[in-house]
């Protein structure tokens, strides 16, 4: 049976490959004459700005990249879960705590799904959240500074994949576990997975004022794999939907063993009901150990706090809060349309696209039409909740986004295309090939009640012949399609950082006016800040030396330091005195086992230098800052450990 399925898939892919060749042939002939026209649609003239921001996940780079649409220009790679030597993130003393976890300092992760905060179901452009998949974490990035300002680790979780999607007033960011694990973790035979492993769905509350995150509760679900999720919206606000696979609860050779059931489930979670239960004292507080890291913009410093307990909820204790909607076959994407009525479950192995109806779901629940239960959680009848299906739209459906005009766009991984279809009639309207093996797609505002249905970005895993070759590894890529007309039109290919998983986008005008240009020096509350050259000093405390240093065009103060000894721990606390937009300075010290610091106007950053050899060692500005950037340099004299060279520092005069 499995072999037949594989064979059919192979033949089908071959056929589709042929048809897509035809398609591409057609689009080539079209683009030949109109190529200029297409180029104009993505052309953003020098000095002009893009219309949209696109935040594209960095996948295994652990970061988040910022692009402009329609130009596809890369503006920034925001370091989130991985150290970044370019920005000293995770290297300087201030941001090291951001990467602290219960497993210690973990300077890498696999970042998947960015989602922008919402108010009233519309994107508000305040923060963007993204999940760390490998060591379960959720990060919050402040869109006024484009810096990661908070990371919370998620306990009892593994493979934090069905996250980080936000509810329509950013009440919660959700973190669903892809892998079920023993809860709490313990040493036990893997073969005893079934019935013993659990899947935690974490609801992380977001403080409406500061955005501070806190795990409000964890729903401890049966041991399936929770793949993706989307919040209900509009009429289904208050619900969250999670696709599952491996409802077989296999623990080995999942490609076979987790593909046995004809249908897996979409778990529908009424979080409002659970929230009420929890607010009334429900749930069980259990011991846990997870890091909560917060970056303070006034002290320019992060702190990491280990949290020791978490509130768990057994779904059986809150009747009516969780239901399973049978969905064929190993559904991956879980997407809710802007009205909140349709829940699209993209069965990876299914020939058809399954769409559930929220109204029908409520009706079936009301009339208690259950097909049975799984570990006590009611399973609804497939037919009772089915709104309709799109028949044979392509191969390997993954993800769906909506244009707000009644159309849905679904990516097909195997047949490598974007297919446009109509909600309600379920008919396929248009299709366009991708180059190649497309995963997610994104329409700006796609995960809200108000999509800006002008462009869709498809994110591809493979690019082969699309770009100049660069050895065995070729860049992953995004493709931009114009969807403003009846037919989609491919406008642009552009390379991406890491493997792009998902993206979030919004009009530039939501973020641009709030973008921070400098940090005000008078607001700098860093404990080691020197706010003027008069405040600079060098302080010895045993074998630890603190240098309070400043930088301004084009010198450091002090720039001559003596009295440092081999074996000292020397902290350079460097404050950038500039108050002008886009005038950072850098600093690095020979032999320092860290990265350079790139310090923004008004900011203080710190790096640790442990001199191991005596001598006179230079430091210099690493960012070309001014006409006299090359002169922006200084020396530290390092004496033997037992020397009694007095501690001295100066600027503009010889020390001796």
């Amino acid at each position: 049976m499995k072999n037949i399925l594989k064979l059919t898939l192979t033949i089908l892919s071959a056929l589709v490959a042929l048809t897509s060749c035809n398609n591409s042939g057609k689009s080539d002939s079209r683009s030949g004459a109109l190529a200029g026209n297409v180029a104009e649609k993505v052309y953003v003239a020098p000095g002009e700005h893009d219309e949209f921001y696109a935040f594209i996940s960095g996948g295994f780079s652990g970061q988040l990249s910022v692009y402009g649409l329609p130009s596809g220009r890369l503006f920034k790679v925001i370091p989130v879960f991985s150290q970044d030597a370019e920005k000293a993130y995770g290297y300087n003393e201030e941001t090291k705590p951001m990467l602290n976890t219960s497993h210690g300092f973990v300077p890498w992760d696999d970042s998947h799904h960015p989602d922008i905060s919402q108010t009233g179901g519309e994107i508000d452009g305040r923060w963007i959240f993204i999940n760390g998949n490998n060591t379960p974490r959720i990060a919050k990035i402040d869109l006024s500074t484009f810096e990661t300002t908070e990371i919370i680790e998620v306990p009892n979780s593994a493979g934090n994949h069905s996250s980080s999607f936000v509810t329509e007033n950013t009440e919660y960011v959700v973190a669903g576990t892809r892998f079920s694990v023993p809860v709490p973790q313990k040493d036990m035979p893997i073969s005893e997975y079934k019935g013993n492993f659990k899947g935690a769905l974490s609801f992380i509350s977001v403080d409406p004022e500061h955005g501070h995150m806190d795990i409000k509760f964890q729903l401890i679900m049966p041991g399936f794999d929770y793949d993706l999720s989307h919040p209900g919206r509009g009429k289904s606000h208050g619900w969250f939907f999670f696709t599952t696979y491996n409802s077989e609860e296999a623990s080995t050779l999942l490609e076979v063993n987790a593909s046995q059931n004809d249908k897996d489930f979409i778990a529908a979670v009424n979080w409002k009901k659970i929230e009420e239960y929890v607010n009334n004292g429900g749930g069980t507080m259990v011991p846990a150990n997870y890091a909560h890291n917060i970056y303070d913009e006034d002290t320019h410093t992060a702190t990491s706090t280990m949290k020791k307990e978490v509130l768990t909820v057994n779904p059986l204790d809150v009747p009516g809060a969780v239901y399973f909607l049978p969905t064929p076959k190993s559904p991956h994407g879980c997407d809710v349309d802007p009205t909140g009525e349709y829940i699209v479950g993209n069965g990876k192995l299914s020939a058809n696209l399954t769409v559930h109806s929220f109204t029908k779901m409520l009706d079936a629940i009301e009339n208690k039409k259950f097909a049975g239960d799984a570990y006590g959680i009611p399973i609804l009848n497939f037919e009772d909740v089915l709104a309709g299906s799109v028949e044979q739209p392509g191969l390997g459906p993954l993800h769906t986004e909506f244009d707000g005009k009644g159309n849905a766009y679904t990516t097909f991984f195997i047949s490598s295309e974007v297919v446009k279809w109509k909600l309600g009639t379920w008919e396929v309207v248009d299709r366009q090939p991708c180059y190649y093996s497309v995963g997610h797609l994104m329409i700006p505002g796609g995960n809200s009640q108000k999509p800006w249905g002008k462009y869709v970005v498809a994110m591809n895993k493979i690019t082969k012949d699309r770009y100049l070759p660069t050895g065995p590894e070729v860049t992953q890529s995004a493709q931009l399609y114009d969807i403003s007309g009846d037919k989609m039109e491919l406008l642009l290919d552009f390379p991406t950082i890491g493997e792009p998983h998902y993206a979030a986008g919004c009009p530039a005008d939501l973020i641009k006016p709030r973008s921070k240009k400098i940090f005000k020096l008078e607001d700098n509350k860093h404990p080691f800040a020197a706010k003027s050259e008069a405040d600079t000093k060098v302080v010895r405390d045993g074998k630890t030396v603190h240098i309070y240093m400043t930088m301004i065009r084009s010198h450091f103060s002090p720039d001559n330091i003596e009295g440092i000894k081999v074996g000292d721990k020397v902290y350079f606390h460097v404050t950038n005195l500039e108050q002008d937009y886009d005038v950072p300075h850098g600093v690095s010290m020979i032999g320092a086992n860290t990265s350079e610091l790139l310090i923004m106007p008004g900011q203080t950053e710190t790096f640790l230098w442990e001199p191991k050899q005596e001598g006179v060692w230079p430091f210099y500005c690493t960012d070309f800052c001014s006409a006299l950037h090359q002169e922006m340099q200084g020396y530290v004299r390092v004496s033997p450990t037992n020397a009694n060279t007095p501690l001295k520092w100066s600027l503009g005069e010889d020390i001796e």
Partner: protein, 196 residues
């Protein structure tokens, strides 16, 4: 009260607008400053047009050895006192004086304003020419003399990579209107005198 005296009353009060609005503005444009650097000159203060403009002007100017723009200059005490005194005199004239006094006040104001402008020019000249001999960068004019960086007294001018603009602001308009109105009051008063 006669019509001319009422006009003179307004004329005497208008220069007080200098305490509400800036007198002058110097703007420096360059490609690397999409938002130009600019400073307002008030009757008693220099101020940033955008946050930190003066700090950034100082930072930039130090390359050619220009001094930092001072926090305060003696004129910030003299000018406000001058305006208060002349307004006071103007008010007395408006209530007590005949039309001829309006003309005297007008002449007084023109003289004082000219003196103020001259003082401003001297200050600008010193600021733009009295350079630090250890300046990082030295520029000479085509004739070999040391290049100055004096902003224009009025109008626009290229200084190295900058285009400098120097123009009056609302405060100056109030002063100018006040002066002009005193002249107008004089003519109205004169006409009235001849008719009666």
């Amino acid at each position: 009260m006669k019509k001319s005296n009422i006009i003179m009353l307004i004329a005497a009060l208008l220069p007080l607008g200098l305490f509400l609005f800036p007198l002058w503005r110097i703007t420096l444009e360059a490609p690397q400053y999409p938002i130009p650097l600019a400073m307002n000159i008030h009757i008693n203060d220099f101020s940033d047009v955008h946050p930190h403009d003066i700090k950034n002007i100082n930072l930039m100017n130090h390359y050619v050895g220009m001094k930092y723009i001072p926090e305060a200059i003696p004129e910030f005490k003299i000018f406000p006192a001058g305006i208060i005194i002349t307004t006071f005199i103007g008010l007395i004239i408006a209530f007590k004086g005949n039309y001829k006094w309006f003309l005297y006040w007008f002449v007084l104001m023109v003289l004082l304003s000219s003196a103020g402008m001259y003082d401003f020019y001297i200050w600008e000249h010193d600021y733009g020419h009295n350079l630090d001999p250890k300046a990082i960068m030295k520029f000479t004019n085509p004739d070999g003399t040391v290049m100055g960086f004096q902003p224009p007294l009025f109008g626009s001018k290229d200084i190295l990579n900058f285009r400098a603009h120097s123009y009056p602001r609302l405060g100056a308009l109030f002063l100018g209107l006040g002066i002009a109105m005193s002249l107008f009051a004089y003519f109205v008063g004169k006409k009235h005198y001849k008719n009666s």
